[in-house]
Each structure stands twice: as structure tokens, then as C-alpha cells.
Amino acid sequence: MKLNPKLTQKISYFILFLVTVFAIIPVIIIISVIVKNGLPAITLEFLTSFPKNGIRGGGIFPAIIGTFAIIICSIVIICPIGILAAIYLNEYAGNNLLTKIIKLAIINLANIPSVVYGLFGFSIFVVFLRLGVSIISGALTLSIMELPVIITTTQNALNSVPSSFREASLSLGVSHWQTIRYVVLPSAVPGILTGTILSIARISGETAPILFTAAVFYVPHLPHSIFDQVMILPYHLYITSTNVPYMPQKLVFGIALVLLIMVLTISSISIIIRIYFRKHKKW
């Protein structure tokens, strides 16, 4: 029996629509639950003061500052290494065994569970290099985890620069490096920027890698240097929701909401940059 093509069209449209709705329902529920329960906790005091009553009251100021400290420290480490490595791989590396191994390693690094990075960071940075539980150990661990992503997005950005630009530059007697420096990189900046910012958004929400390397339950002061241990939002959320008896639920959702807003803000910045450059891009 053959179905009426108009009917099958309607059925398939309906099924596709339904699946899409199912896919976005959890996101909507998560966001609305967090906003509904967390919003009452958000006050100026909550954002700008230290925790009180054995963490069951007061604010989350040190955790916000700690999160920013880790993010900034990671950016400083990850951007130069990731971008330069991507330039090398994309523009210079020959198609030999070494390059293939490096590329394979990058793909595999991206698939390692983040808790493994956490344990690795603990044994290498905290214990072996004696950096202790500190901002720098956490940032290094996060950087190693995010490096493959930065390298891949940067490579994609470099690849999307039209080869006609490169040829035009080379044909004028401009060297390979000058071509990269003056033609390829300026055209790839928007792509590199958005990729990097998205990575930062991801880093700021990670818990496992900083669990053993940077985060602590409570510090009565703000970090003085990158060798200090810190409170960090994702860890603070984890600890308050699992390890603190009689924790007011309102505050837990408040922490989640702050973290959510932070990650979404960073992601939106990257989306805004992308839209801006897309509008102004002529090629």
C-alpha cells in the first residue's frame, strides 16, 4: 500500500517537530527551575559578601572572584599556546608521521573525561611540581583540558580564510610568515576569538579538573597570588548541594543561577562578536 505523499509529508514534519521540542524541553525546565528557585537568593549582599554560618549563609563573593581568577589565568596560558600551535599545524606542519601523531593526540585529548584531567593535574602540578592546591595548578589543568578545543577551533578559523588571499599575498613576493601575519591572521581573528570565548565559557563551568587542583571548601580571604587556593563557583555549588547539612536550598539555587548567568553571558559575548563580524565581513 502506498501512502498519500501529502500525508507522509505531514507526518514526517510532525515527527521532526516533536523530536525538536523534546530536545529543548529539558533546557527550558532546567533554566526555569534554577531561575525560579535561585532568583530570591540574588541580592547585592549575596554577590558581594563572604559566606557566614559555616557557609550556610552570607554571600559567594570569594567564589566569584576565584572563578574569574582561574578563568583569566587559564586564558593567559591557553591562548598563546593554543593559537601558535594551531598556526604551526595548519600553516607549516608537513603531512608526515609526526603531524599525524600530533593530530591524533589532539583528537584523543578532547575525548578524555574531565575527571581524568583533574587527577592528572593533581599528580603533576599539585604533587610533583609542588605548586600545591592553587589557582595556577587549576588553571594549568583546565588549560591542558581545553587546549585541543582551542587548537581545533583556531585551525578551523585559519582554514576558512580564502586561499585566494594567501595566493595574492604570496604572488607579491611576500613571505609565508608575512602572509600569515598580515593576511591570514587578521582575517581569522573573529573565528579565533569566538572559539576562544566559547572555550572560556566551558572552562568556567567545569568542576572535575579543579576539584583536586585549585578549589577548597572555604577561604576567609581573597586570593593574594596565583599560588593561593581559592573558592570557585562550580565547586562551591557541588559542595553546598552535597556535603553541607541544613544548607538553605535557596542559596544553592542562587549559586547555580549565578554560574548559569556567567556561562551564558560569556557565550553570548562570543555570539555577539560572531554576528558583528559576519555583518562586516565582505567575503
Binding site: N95, A168, G173, S175, K282
Partner: protein, 249 residues
């Protein structure tokens, strides 16, 4: 007399032989056209003359190409200096996403060895390509706002500001309309006074209109090289005749 001599030149792309033992002598201050069906190797040969093929993986060559008496496939050659000497204009106009001024001055800005007055040089080369009057008041505008024909003129200006000896044109009119094509052809004809011009074209009428010598290529081989008049009126080879009379290609 000849400033470009190609001797026993072959080019391989991995195992595929794209150019088979090409021999060609190209006269200075002359326009030489390369014609042939798609995939015959004419663009590949053109792109070998400034070694822009180096950027493609899997390419290797045999034989010599002598530019001004030097074999450019010698390992000691300065490829950047070669490319300043052999300019190139591409199939699609490819200005950088920069201002008109920055586009023209790009090559000089990066490698200004003789401390040339760049402003003057930009003006001169824009005048040479008859673009100066159109753009003199908007040199800071993005070059991609120009029409395709103006963009192609800009690319020619960008090439001639380097004062090359030879300019390679790789189907420079294939993305232009007939009127723009005619005007670019007129421009190329004026360039003959100062430069050796080599133009690859799939348009036989174009070759007939502007070139003095024509090379006909087929499947990586140079079939015939002669005065353009001869090629189009009385070709020596059967294959050339078949192609120019439109029996294939």
C-alpha cells in the same frame, strides 16, 4: 630577447603527470597567450612560472624554467624575489579585505627595500590601470566595495606596483561581463609596452585579439607554439586545427 625560457619542464601531482616535457621561449615585452581545453595544464604551467604551485601539496617538478637567465627551480633561488619579479593576476579578482590604498601598497609596505615613496607609487600604478580617477577620493574605502572590473584593475595595479618584468594573467576576464572584458583587454594591451605578459585564457577570440604568440596545450603537452596569426589561420598540427575550429574543447 627571450626573458623566459622553459626547458624540458615536467610537473607531477603525486603520480599524475600534469605537464609533459614542455619547451617554450617567451619574448620580452610581448603578449603570449596559452590556450587549450580545461585541464590541459595551461594554468599549471603559468603557476609554475612564479612557483605559486609550491603551495600545493604533492607537486614536484623536473627540468628548468629560466627567468632572466636564472633557473627558478634551483634550490638556492630567492622565491620571494622571484615573485616580486613575476607578478600574477588571478581568475577571480582577489583584493584583500582592506582599503584600496592598503591593497595597492601591500607588497611595497611589507618589503620596501629601496624606500620608494609609497604614496606616489600607489597613485602611479592606479593611473596605469586607469582606476585613479574613479577612486582618488575614496582610497580609504574597502576595496571589496568596488565593481568586479574595478577590483580586477586594482589587482593589476597591486601587481605592477612591484615593478615586475613579467606579469602572469590566469583567465583574468572569466568572471567579468563582455564590456568589462573588453576594457581589461585594452588595459592588458597597454601593459605590453613595459612588461612581458603571459595570459591563460579559455576564450580563443581573446587570445586572437590581444596576443602576438599563442601556445596551444592539450593533456599536459605543448602541441604547438607560434605566431597567433599562424595558429588561428594556418595551424601546423591537426589537434590545434580541431580545437580552434571548435571540433572539441
Amino acid at each position: 630577447m627571450f626573458n623566459l625560457i622553459i626547458k624540458n619542464f615536467s610537473l607531477y601531482y603525486y603520480n599524475f603527470c600534469a605537464l609533459k616535457n614542455i619547451n617554450l621561449k617567451i619574448k620580452e615585452k610581448n603578449i603570449t597567450a596559452m590556450i587549450g581545453p580545461s585541464g590541459c595544464g595551461k594554468s599549471t604551467l603559468l603557476r609554475s612560472i612564479n612557483r605559486i604551485n609550491d603551495t600545493i601539496k604533492g607537486v614536484f617538478t623536473k627540468g628548468n624554467i629560466n627567468v632572466l637567465g636564472k633557473n627558478i627551480y634551483n634550490t638556492k633561488i630567492d622565491v620571494e624575489a622571484l615573485r616580486r619579479n613575476v607578478g600574477m593576476v588571478f581568475q577571480r579578482p582577489n583584493p584583500f579585505p582592506l582599503s584600496i590604498y592598503e591593497n595597492i601598497s601591500f607588497g611595497l609596505n611589507i618589503n620596501n627595500k629601496n624606500s620608494i615613496n609609497i604614496k606616489m607609487a600607489v597613485k602611479e600604478s592606479l593611473k596605469d590601470v586607469l582606476l585613479w580617477d574613479d577612486v582618488k577620493n575614496k582610497l580609504n574605502r574597502n576595496a571589496l566595495n568596488l565593481t568586479l572590473e574595478q577590483q580586477q584593475r586594482l589587482c593589476i595595479a597591486r601587481a605592477i606596483i612591484m615593478k615586475p618584468n613579467i606579469i602572469l594573467f590566469d583567465e583574468p576576464c572569466s568572471s567579468l561581463d563582455p564590456i568589462a572584458t573588453q576594457r581589461i583587454e585594452e588595459l592588458i594591451l597597454t601593459l605590453k609596452k613595459e612588461y612581458t605578459v603571459i595570459i591563460v585564457t579559455h576564450n580563443m577570440q581573446q587570445a586572437a585579439r590581444i596576443s602576438c604568440d599563442t601556445a596551444f596545450m592539450l593533456q599536459g603537452k605543448l602541441i604547438e607554439f607560434n605566431k597567433t596569426e599562424k595558429i588561428f589561420t594556418n595551424p601546423m598540427e591537426k589537434e590545434t586545427e580541431n580545437y580552434i575550429t571548435g571540433r572539441f574543447g
